[in-house]
Symmetry: C2
Subunit: 228 residues, 2 copies
């Protein structure tokens, strides 16, 4: 019996889906954790579930309610940054799409879930080369959170560490896609656009970074091939 | 105008209510954060709201759904420890009432709330002398979490630290009550019993620790005076 278990934070985007396939390839029985947190691109919730079902993994959709706003991802009255050029996106200034403490909240629930199912690891698809400057995607944040798990949860105190795995952390978007293609990630199923319309808008930071990855590999994004 | 703002984690129990009054006495405009997390002693949610209204502070009740169980506080099929003597309670073995990653989750939301309202501090009533052995109440846990806030949230990165304040951390129950009485905490309004019945059960760890505090001061618990 395979006793390796991992919780994977799954948004249905390119990065987290790659992390999901990576965890599975490492021999983990995977428990996907999907958040419904009032994001404007609610479409990703359905996409994430579809992907989880596609590979037959256990998944949970957790609804969390953030009554305070303050992010363009939660509040339609705040404009999404759009048509920013790569230089500007990659300047790593924290953008309007930042959701206060989002990954801290996500990892907290992942830790709780991991304890409950006896998982040894949490996988998250965060990465810092082609990214939008969110502080809770940086290695120093994950390092700090590892200490929280070592000191603050029963498993940690009892020496059964729950590791936080960030296999994509230093990869750029094209390297992530390359890894994913080798793992047979069905990128046509994934969804990155912040707008969550019928088709990707092509203008938000997330669309622009995704395009950069496929362009660098000289491949057409299979999602666009499916849609067009 | 007073610009000092603090989020206070408020359960309606003796410790968190003391922390609330302490924060207020320190000159903070207080934002109380109350969790409805499926606890069996749901009564404390109402109590917490009543206390917040009593002092006229802003409060938010946040419903969080933990679909996984594994704690006597969430699952009525797991027995609450009862009639344990103080020596056994204070041995600090993690009890069945432990909720996986609870304070990590609570602090995560508090951090998000604090960012959203521009608060400089989060107050939590955790303490480790008369306590049940929860790992996420220990100073080393809070120390680790402070690092998470320094590295993982926008305010932290921008140098506007959100502090985690644990004013009760090294006090025993009688010292907490003594402090609270000096701050005019209405202990007759607070609720500690895990069972959440009409009257405190007197047998759960929480009731036993509360009784110890009042006994040491030679005072009758005002809650019992009100009820009887």
């Amino acid at each position: 019996m395979n006793n390796k278990r991992a919780v994977v934070l799954l948004s249905g985007g390119l990065d987290s889906t790659t992390a999901l396939f990576f965890a599975r390839a490492q021999g983990y029985k995977v428990f996907a954790l999907i958040f419904d947190y009032g994001q404007r691109h609610r479409k990703e919730i359905k996409v994430a579930q579809k992907i989880a079902r596609e590979i037959g993994c256990v998944y949970t959709v957790l609804k969390i309610n953030l009554p305070w706003k303050g992010s363009a991802l939660l509040d339609k009255n705040i404009s999404l940054p759009q048509n920013r050029n790569l230089v500007k996106i990659l300047k790593n200034k924290i953008p309007a799409t930042y959701v206060p403490a989002r990954n801290i909240i996500f990892l907290s629930f992942a830790a709780s879930y991991a304890e409950a199912v006896g998982a040894q690891a949490i996988f998250i698809g965060a990465n810092i080369r082609d990214y939008s400057g969110y502080p809770d995607c940086r290695p120093e944040f994950f390092k700090a959170f590892r200490q929280v798990l070592a000191k603050g949860i029963k498993a940690g105190v009892e020496g059964k560490t729950i590791e936080i795995k960030t296999p994509l952390i230093r990869k750029d978007k094209s390297q992530i896609i390359k890894l994913g293609l080798s793992l047979k990630v069905p990128y046509q199923m994934t969804w990155s656009c912040y707008r969550g319309g019928e088709t990707p808008c092509g203008r938000c930071d997330s669309c622009i970074l995704r395009k950069k990855g496929f362009d660098q590999l000289g491949i057409k994004d299979p999602l666009l091939a499916v849609i067009q």
